[in-house]
Amino acid sequence: MEILKIQDLTYYYPRKEEPALKCVNLSVTEGEFILLFGKSGCGKSTLGRVFNKIVPEFYGGKIKGNVESKVDIGMVFQDPEKQLVMEQVEREIAFGLENIGINYEVMRKKVMETLSFLNIWDIRYKKTYELSGGQKQKLAIGATIAMGYKFLVFDEPTSQLDPVAAEEILHILKRLNEELGYTIVLIEQRIDKCFHLADRVLFMEESQIIFDGAPKDFVAWSYKHEKNFSPSVSNYFVKLGEKNIPLTVKEGRKKLRKNLFLKKPVVIQHETKEEYGNREAISIKKLYFTYENGKEALNGVDLKVFKGEVLGIMGENGGGKSTLLKNISGLLKPDKGNLSVCGEVGYLSQNPNDYLFNDTVYEELKYTLDQKGIKDLSRIEKVLKNLELLRYKDKNPRDLSGGEKQRVALGSILVMEPEILILDEPTRGLDRDLKERLGEIILNLKNKGKTVILVTHDVEFVGKFCERVCLMFDGSVAQVGSKYDVLTEGIYYATQMNKLFSGYVDKIITLEDACYITDHLKEGVI
């Protein structure tokens, strides 16, 4: 049954010349799980807001075309912090129900059922600001489903979360769709984990829907049109020219077993590219740190970071990564142990907005120089050029897109010409193209002899751009070494490609590794 129909929709935000949506036609049937994606700024969030009429009723602007919906539609937003309004979990769920005038008895039942469905019964009396990011997002979902919407739009609900919490949220969406038959529209950037959940895929580019069809068809279409938007597993099989392309690791491995005919597992020997010798940029020995509230954050960390390398630090939230970074950058003083850092440390935090307050990009970079007492202003132009920001020199940094903002923030650090650069969750909220670009910038810095430390949950990114990886657990280092040792043989900190090949061909991390090995296996030589 068709429950939503959009015909020839064109929409302009107030005071904007360019349309945010152009001639959009769409029909949604009850019970569908739709994945809506595309590059940053392609109009997917705006389309998501059309469903429940936030656009144009809340935003205003010019609209042409028809939107007909037979049901009420609920929406969950990106940032869980900014959606919650009440102080207590239970009241937060009830808030929407109060607004639509449900009577007390029904309200109680709905609150109770929502708490049970999401398994957040135990935190019902907690204060909302005490919750973790994942719990907050769960609560935001709960508050929306409690209102009785059977058609839900999720605008990048996992982009601010760590992978564990993200998967939990995706699992909830799957349950809503499969157990309750709800219609789901999911707007996402990180598609590896949710592509197979969808019945239908909408791909947007320049304010238009340019693909509307089944996920399997999208993979072939995407490869043909060079869109680079399919999950890694599918990408690999498309590259081989296969038909009937798998979407998940499980399907992929089934296909591999047929294709490879391997009698015993192959292990590739990766050349150790470079010996770092004694050129240490950071040396940490038995480092301890305890916060004032008594929380032991670092518990005897031993770590060496070499000059000119890209090191990835991974691990659970609360495992001590941030505390370690703060110790390295000098924001915190260690309680015990040795820490020696050669050269200045530049630090890029997760949120580029924390950096941007000046009126122009140029001034933003100059501010750092002024504070550091550096007179050489030619550095600014040089950095802007390297980061491809020169054309935005006189623009207000706050008006730029997400990826550009991040580069300005990075620029404001790079003008100090630090020897060591720390990037905290730099891939959060970036689409694949932007990630690739960031990767290139990082490799560029590495080639100039800078040391880069990446702290991230993004295994794919680490697999592609780092040489060594350090896993932190409970305030100490669990494993550190070449990425081919750390990111393989695992079940969690492993790339999609590694999971695909694990047990058949070991020590594969990236798509390039996989393609290389398949070519050679075909020829019979490794």
Partner: protein
């Protein structure tokens, strides 16, 4: 003991508050103070009593010092200074000292009334009660609480970022230090503006302001609430009656005046009511029969 309905307690606290404010007879103020202290001790919250008293001690001491210095009225002079440049002569009088002491007692009274209210009611029930009748106020309050927590974290984060960009927050020069804080303020300000739009959008998406609201709060009125309402009523009657009789007021300046029998007899009536309230609290806490009945 069972928590009281917020309305019962608001009324009771307001009457006490009003009494502490209008009466300036030291015995009246002492009675109220003793009543609250005994009640709090009966509730087993001596620790909180101590902490709250600590907050009051400095202010009370300040009143005790400043009033005699600033107020030159009163006949019984305890000390007279020579001429001090600019200020002139200073005399400290017994009356001014007593008045300061009385004010300090009032201050403790008012501070403890707030603690007493908090102990006798449930915080969430108070919130529910207000959200039913002053919905916008409670929504603003809860959003503010959420935002304050977020801002605290944000300020810490931005400060770290700015330190690493070379901003010196330990600057000795006050003007320079103020300037160092400017970027933090600006970043936080912009972030809050952007955040407010997101919050408004979320409120809109959740149907806020679309129609007649219902309330999730159900605060029950218990037997003890009726009993306390009785006390409230009698106490209020006495206070109003006393107002016409003009009791509870004494004159401090130029000399003590008005400590007569009529005042003290009336105080006994008020004290009887307060003792009944104490007995009720004690009974609810210790006496099994009463505990189950209410």
């Amino acid at each position: 003991m069972a928590k009281l309905h917020p309305f019962t307690m608001i009324l009771f606290s307001m009457i006490l508050f009003f009494m502490a404010l209008i009466y300036n007879h030291p015995l009246y103020i002492c009675s109220i103070l003793i009543f609250i202290v005994v009640s709090i001790l009966l509730l087993g919250e001596g620790k909180q009593l101590k902490t709250t008293m600590k907050y009051g001690v400095y202010t009370a001491a300040l009143i005790l010092i400043i009033n005699p210095l600033a107020n030159q009225n009163g006949r019984h002079i305890l000390y007279k200074s020579g001429k001090i440049p600019i200020i002139g002569k200073i005399k400290i009088t017994q009356e001014a000292l007593a008045y300061g002491g009385n004010m300090a007692l009032k201050l403790f009274c008012i501070l403890l009334i707030f603690l007493f209210y908090g102990l006798m009611t449930d915080r969430d029930e108070t919130f529910s009660f207000f959200s039913k009748y002053a919905h916008k106020l409670t929504l603003t309050l809860s959003m503010t609480i959420n935002i304050i927590h977020r801002l605290r974290l944000e300020i810490m984060r931005v400060k770290d970022v700015m330190i690493l960009r070379g901003v010196n927050f330990q600057e000795k020069n006050l003007r320079k230090r103020m300037k160092a804080y400017y970027p933090i303020l600006k970043v936080i300000f912009i972030a809050s503006l952007e955040g407010s739009l997101d919050q408004a959008e979320s409120l809109y998406a959740r149907g806020y302001g679309k129609g007649v609201r219902t309330s999730y709060s159900q605060v029950k009125i218990k037997n003890i609430d009726y009993l306390f309402h009785g006390i409230n009523f009698i106490l209020l009657c006495f206070v109003v009656y006393g107002f016409f009789l003009n009791v509870g007021f004494v004159q401090f300046y130029p000399t003590f005046h008005g400590f007569d029998l009529k005042e003290n007899i009336f105080l006994i009536y008020i004290d009887i009511i307060l003792v009944v309230a104490i007995l009720l609290i004690w009974g609810c806490k210790r006496w099994k029969f009463l505990r189950y009945k209410i």
